[in-house]
Amino acid sequence: MGDLDFDEFYASNYGRFVVQLYAVTGSLPDAEDAVQEAFARASVHWGRVRAYEMPEAWVRRVALNVAFTGLRRARRVLEVLTRAEPPPAAPLPGASVELVEALGRLPLHFRQVLVLYYLADLPVERVAGELGIAVGTAKSRLARARDALARQLVDGGEEVGSAQR
């Protein structure tokens, strides 16, 4: 495998990863930044990453870590505070906003399991593997997350746990 390998991997996965990160973070710029950073790191370590059984899992994990590290969040806050004007918001479709807002009211571990299952289209076994939990735990977590999200979407629902951002 050569450089072209990374190019293909990047081109075929970038958009999907951004959507997945957007669903988890609720912010499209944050999602794009995290995914780009994850791919940047993957490009440097591509020789090692491509040998993994699931390189996409590695990139997704890095992107999630990047998106949720305190340092990055602090930087974002600083950037926002020092901006003279708020950044122009990308116009997002209403349905998407509704779903993402509903996800944002869920705890992080619920968002993760839902995104991996519905957006990344992974079977429960791989969801469990990517999250480092038992398959049974993944199944029960998925069921509870699904119920919680459904409640949020049907009637705005009550707060489920404390959302982690």
Partner: protein
């Protein structure tokens, strides 16, 4: 809400958001990765430099004397007792006693001398215990003008272990308790001598300028010779006359200087630096013993 309904919602999300985001050029991503890598390397390097500086500071504190410091000058009157040795050259056995005043700029000459040899300094040999060697040397040369000690990097290079140095005029005598071909580890012993052009000064761990630090002060005063008269300032022609085919000249691996070595079989007996490669070029320093950095 059924699972299929949720799946449709997520699929709709993907369909709606995907067109809003496009991947930046691959090269931009690679550049970002390389930039991050450089930042990490710089941070690691900076950390290493800081740690090194802290360690060097600690090592300097650990040393008995952090730098070569002037020590008390030798007595102004010295007995004119001559103790002949089998290795001393004729010119060095009958030096008159001096009673002149010592000054800070021109160090006093020892009343007698030692001989630069491949195996030591005549009155003492490589491998001799430090105390024994110092006793013999001071009996000849009086108290040294400077003493210093280093633990780790030394101005003489990477030596076999911690180094103590003493100086008389241009002559540096080096001791270590590291392992050398003359002694196993753990025993302070004489392992090298050097006759230098410049004063050896302490390494400044903070120095990071683009060019080498300026030359230290030139040394004057006592400058011993080999039994055949070779020392600081000898010409290449003189080296050739003395050592003939045992002399090897060559450029230093780095920098414009020339080096010379005198070999006997596979053994390097003498080595040093020259001002150039012509017959008129002169020796700027010479040394023997275990090489720091070898």
């Amino acid at each position: 809400m059924r699972s299929d309904d949720l799946r449709q919602r997520f699929e709709a999300l993907e369909t709606e958001v995907l067109p809003l985001t496009g991947p930046p050029a691959t090269e931009a991503i690679r550049r970002r990765g390389r930039r991050r890598q450089r930042t990490i390397r710089a941070a690691v390097l900076l950390s290493a430099v800081l740690l090194g500086a802290v360690a060097a500071r600690g090592a300097a504190r650990w040393s008995m004397q952090p730098d070569l410091q002037p020590v008390s000058p030798p007595p102004t009157t010295r007995p004119a007792v001559v103790t002949s040795t089998t290795t001393a050259p004729a010119s060095s056995t009958t030096r008159p006693a001096t009673t002149g005043q010592s000054t800070t700029s021109v160090p006093p000459r020892p009343t007698r001398t030692v001989v630069l040899r491949a195996d030591g300094l005549g009155v003492t040999a490589f491998g001799a215990a430090e105390q024994d060697a110092m006793r013999a040397l001071q009996a000849r040369l009086g108290p040294p003008q400077e003493r210093g000690s280093w633990n780790g990097a030394t101005p003489f290079g990477t030596c076999p272990g911690p180094v103590r140095a003493v100086r008389w005029g241009r002559l540096y005598v080096l001791f270590t308790n590291g392992p050398t071909r003359y002694s196993p580890e753990g025993r302070w012993h004489l392992f090298a001598w050097q006759v230098n052009q410049f004063q050896v000064t302490a390494i400044d761990p903070q120095y990071s300028g683009p060019t080498p630090p300026p030359d230290p002060p030139p040394l004057r005063g006592y400058s011993p010779r080999t039994a055949t008269g070779i020392s600081y300032g000898s010409t290449v022609a003189e080296l050739r006359a003395v050592y003939s085919r045992r002399l090897q000249l060559g450029r230093a691996e780095s920098g414009p200087t020339y080096q010379f070595t005198v070999r006997r079989g596979a053994t390097t007996e003498l080595f040093g630096s020259l001002t150039g490669g012509t017959s008129g070029a002169t020796v700027t320093w010479l040394a023997a013993g275990a090489v720091c950095g070898e």
